[in-house]
């Protein structure tokens, strides 16, 4: 075994020992789409002891974008003379009138970008077109949007605007905890977002809500260590914030990035898919930059659109149910034909379950509050033991 593998086994042993000493089952939540996928891809779910659950929270920026916002993107893209620039993952998310990929098929100009500066460059190169940046993502992507706006201002661009749909992590965590519906013993906190915002913002979690939380990276060993630490903290009755990603995350975060965001944006009350409006959980442009607001430029109005019937993305992303609890999962709603964004996004909980966990079968978890549940086979994604307790097999 390599040194790395030995280290990994030692951490797993710590996790197992600590879990064995717990007096009751525990639930933790991760709030980052990359953690959601990594927990499956690395096989961590299959190695997690039966009395420890790692739930997925609202960590996928695509999944938490409301249906109404999707419709705005599609609407703007369909305007004549507009090029909508978006991160690729948004292309297939369904709105009421189709998705961006379909709009592109009908002739809309939709360009996949990797950097917000691509949108600015495009606007500068094509002054006769209106270029709109679909600005989604958590705090990892807010500085790039702010910088793009400042650059557009510096260049005096009149044809660049932004549809702001950013979301903030801590307000969402706060809303989840204030809502009181989910039974949690701690949080696994996102690595990349924390590089920007710093770890101090999470102090509220142990200090006000009495829960431990751990900032960790995305590699297999880093996540295993995060989980082991969380279990140890609960076992020892501690309520602490621990930063296990100090090589990238500091207490105060990236001050320069925060300053740039603060210059361009202010907090706003915005709607999260399936959850509703969470105070201060999004961003809006400060008056000095209102000229770059695509909503104003195109006279758009935010519309409340009901979710598709039967879609439980909202409950999935708040840890209230698992994908297999949704009747549409794996039957009507699949990655080829997704109904909700959790299935479209490569970091969506539903797609992760479908892809790495075989797809069908019923979880016995109706509500994480219940402790008599034994869904570990399903959560572990162990193909060989994917059988329900009543003996029925689970097939693809």
């Amino acid at each position: 075994m390599s040194e790395r593998e030995i280290h990994g086994q030692a951490i797993l042993q710590r996790l197992r020992s600590a879990a064995a000493e717990l007096s009751r089952p525990v639930n933790f939540m991760e709030v980052c789409g990359t953690h959601t996928v990594s927990a499956f891809r690395t096989g961590l779910h299959s190695l997690t002891p039966a009395n420890v659950k790692l739930l997925s929270g609202p960590g996928c920026p695509v999944c938490v974008t409301s249906q109404g916002d999707i419709d705005l993107f599609v609407g703007v893209a369909s305007e004549p003379n507009v090029t909508l620039c978006t991160y690729g993952d948004m292309l297939r998310v369904p709105g009421a009138s189709g998705n961006l990929e379909q709009a592109r098929g009908r002739g809309a100009q939709v360009k996949v970008i990797y950097s917000t500066m691509d949108a600015v460059k495009l606007a500068a190169a094509e002054p006769e077109r209106q270029v709109v940046l679909a600005a989604i993502g958590f705090e990892t992507t807010t500085p790039p949007t702010a910088i793009a706006i400042l650059e557009a201002q510096r260049l005096g661009l009149k044809n660049f605007s932004v549809l702001v749909s950013h979301k903030l992590v801590m307000p969402a965590i706060r809303a989840l905890l204030d809502g009181g519906k989910v039974n949690l013993d701690g949080f696994m906190l996102p690595g990349h977002v924390s590089i920007i915002i710093g770890s101090d913002v999470y102090r509220e979690i142990p200090e006000k809500y009495g829960l431990s939380c751990v900032v960790c990276g995305f590699e297999d060993i880093q996540m295993a260590e995060g989980l082991a630490r969380l279990v140890e903290l609960v076992r020892d009755g501690k309520r602490e914030l621990v930063n296990l990603y100090p090589q990238a995350v500091t207490a105060g975060g990236n001050k320069g990035a925060q300053a740039v965001v603060d210059k361009v944006f202010e907090p706003a009350d915005v709607g999260w898919r399936g959850v509703g409006v969470i105070p201060g959980s999004g961003l809006k442009l400060r008056p000095a930059y209102a000229a770059f607001d695509a909503m104003q430029r195109f006279g758009l109005k935010a519309v409340d659109v009901p979710e598709p019937a039967g879609c439980r993305c909202g409950e999935v992303i708040t840890g209230l149910c698992t994908p297999v609890d949704c009747k549409l999962f794996g039957t009507v709603c699949t990655p080829i034909n997704p109904i909700g964004p959790c299935m479209v996004s490569s970091e969506g909980t539903c797609q992760a379950w479908f892809k790495y966990n075989r797809g069908k079968g019923k979880s016995k978890v109706r509500n994480p509050k219940s402790e008599s549940i034994s869904n570990d086979e399903i959560q572990r994604g162990d193909a060989r033991s994917l059988k329900r307790q009543d003996g029925e097999g689970v097939l693809a």
Binding site: E5, G43, F218, K355, G381, R384
Partner: protein, 342 residues
Amino acid sequence: MTTNITDNLKRIALAHGGGGQLTDELLNTSVLPRLNNEILGELLDSGILPKQNGRIALTIDGYVVQPIKFPGGDIGRIAISGTVNDLAVSGATPLGIALSFILAEGLERSVLEEISDSIAATAREAGVKIVTGDTKVVGRGQADGIYITTAGVGVVPDGRELHPNRVQAGDVILINGPIADHGLAVMLARELPQVQSALRSDVAPLNGLIATVLDATDGVVFMRDATRGGLAGVGADLAARTGWHVTLNESDIPIRSETMHAAEMLGLDPLDVANEGKVVVVARAEAAEKVLAAMRRHPLGGDAKVIGTVESERDGVCELHTAMGGRRIVQKPYGEQLPRIC
């Protein structure tokens, strides 16, 4: 007048696809001298190949890669390698290639000549001839510059039967080298050209390596090249088609560190990424050593490894044993791979 002649000399025009004198001139100047062999040189409506002993294998592929030149290769190299490899993994000795160009009006001649050079070099490397061809020209902006379609014909010797039906529990799965180089190199070149990286496509004809393997042992039962869909696609297909449970061991799957980092940066799973110089071999367990030794003797197989096993459960599932000792299902990727957002 001078401008027209200069233009004709430098760029492809619609008339070059007309089958008339301009087409002849284009082919005689830019293409044929590079690809020429005694069969192609006849310039008849079909290339006539010599009589063969064995069954005829026929395959076809279209090549539309963007950008047409990328680190490690170009559309010409893929067009020959891909088709040669489809024949080789079927157990066929490649004999001849039929090649169709679809060129966009305005394409620079020099580009066509560079691609033809690459086609010729790759064909020489593979020991295969382009025996017949076709050229069409479409309007400016169509065809992304150049599309190539190649059909390949080969011969499978009597007694050689490579087929998923022959795969049994206990068989061993091998690969000739590191995964995901091609797809990531092309994606970076296309989407992030400003990013400097050491990534290079692995595109190469594998018929030489495969011949070495098949000469060394009778124990190979099935092979696939791991192109679109990556190793995940091959593993999932193998399990689904044969009905056996297939295990892949993550720690044994070779991958270059720069490739892994590029995949991590983009949020992509290397198992899903296309390869153009990798063959997945399924062999009887007792033949594994010989297969490995044969691959490692060949320049394109120096990093060959045993990466998995065909198990005795009949659930048709492909499962990865992760580096950390966990497990997760491997499925064919759904389609377009979209990098993550944040």
